[in-house]
């Protein structure tokens, strides 16, 4: 029933509202600290790999397209199209996490992970450690959402192979799409804020 689909989408948006507030707190913490230590945050952000960040942004946008297509195929009742779109979305999601893993590994090698082995110019080590804590906290929370999203996609894939989704019943695909696009939007803000805004300095 249209009313049921409507209520489901509304409920999903209420959940995404709580997610917006959750990530909002992280973005707020970042903004307050960046305002407090603008020069050190700018310098610390130069240690990120901008090219990998840009590639990952493109990978996520591609995965959002394939997710949108999955919703389209489920609405049209095209099982093969749905399965292929879900698989592509999962591959792109895994590619994102893989590239993120390469970036994290570089941070470990360069002793930029906050904690005992953190090595930085002593004069700015404190705020720099704060920057990298926020970097790992925010991208880590985003990556956790990606991992949960991949779990949801695995469930959708199994159900799609079983032929569970039809033009009459495809709410799980549509709601998972909302979640996946939301996670994409978080990255759309993380990429400029963490990687780009101080690049010119």
């Amino acid at each position: 029933m249209p009313q049921q689909r409507d209520a489901s989408a509304l409920g999903m948006w209420v959940f995404l509202g709580t997610e917006i507030m959750f990530f909002g707190g992280l973005f707020l913490t970042y903004t307050v600290n960046r305002a407090a230590y603008p020069a050190i945050f700018a310098e610390a952000s130069h240690h990120l790999d901008v090219q990998l960040g840009a590639i990952n942004t493109a990978v996520l946008i591609c995965s959002s397209l394939t997710m949108a297509m999955a919703v389209y195929f489920s609405q049209k009742g095209k099982r093969t199209g749905l399965i292929v779109s879900l698989l592509l979305t999962m591959i792109l999601g895994l590619a994102f996490l893989g590239i993120k893993g390469v970036e994290y590994a570089q941070k470990f090698e360069h002793h930029l992970v906050p904690g005992y082995n953190f090595q930085y110019a002593p004069a700015s080590a404190g705020p720099a450690q704060l920057y990298f804590s926020l970097y790992f906290g925010m991208t880590g929370m985003h990556a956790l959402h990606m991992i949960i999203g991949l779990g949801i996609l695995t469930f959708l894939l199994i159900e799609a192979i079983r032929g569970r989704y039809t033009p009459e019943y495809n709410t799980p695909v549509e709601l998972s799409g909302l979640y996946w696009h939301f996670v994409d939007i978080i990255w759309i803000y993380l990429f400029p804020l963490l990687y780009l805004i101080d690049l010119h300095k």
């Binding site: 249209p2 948006w13 307050v32 946008i61 780009l196």
Partner: protein, 101 residues
């Protein structure tokens, strides 16, 4: 119910999806290239403005809010309104403290 533009089971054309996708890729390239140019304080503004356009496109078309009922639109906007309160009120505190001390 009678207004077709407000039905949630509206099927969005793949043409629109691909159009939005290409726009998002172009905007990503633009924000990446602009970041290397020194615009002073405007770098932040430009980067966030492009991010805002990108996220709006994703919300309206990939997330179907453009085709949703008004009730759903109100929920989305109110979530953003509370985010605005969170950021605006906290930052208006932090950024004006030095006026006093």
């Amino acid at each position: 119910m009678s207004n077709p533009s407000q039905q949630t089971d509206h099927i969005v054309s793949p043409v629109i999806y691909v159009g939005v996708f290409l726009t998002l890729l172009v905007l990503t390239l633009v924000t990446y290239k602009v970041a290397f140019i020194d615009l002073g304080p405007w770098n932040v503004v430009v980067a966030l403005a492009i991010a805002f356009v990108k996220s709006t496109l994703v919300t309206l078309f990939f997330m179907h809010v453009y085709y949703s009922r008004r009730r759903t639109k109100v929920v989305v906007l109110s979530a953003l309104l509370w985010l605005f309160f969170l950021l605006f009120i906290t930052m208006s505190d932090y950024l004006t403290r030095h006026w006093l001390y």
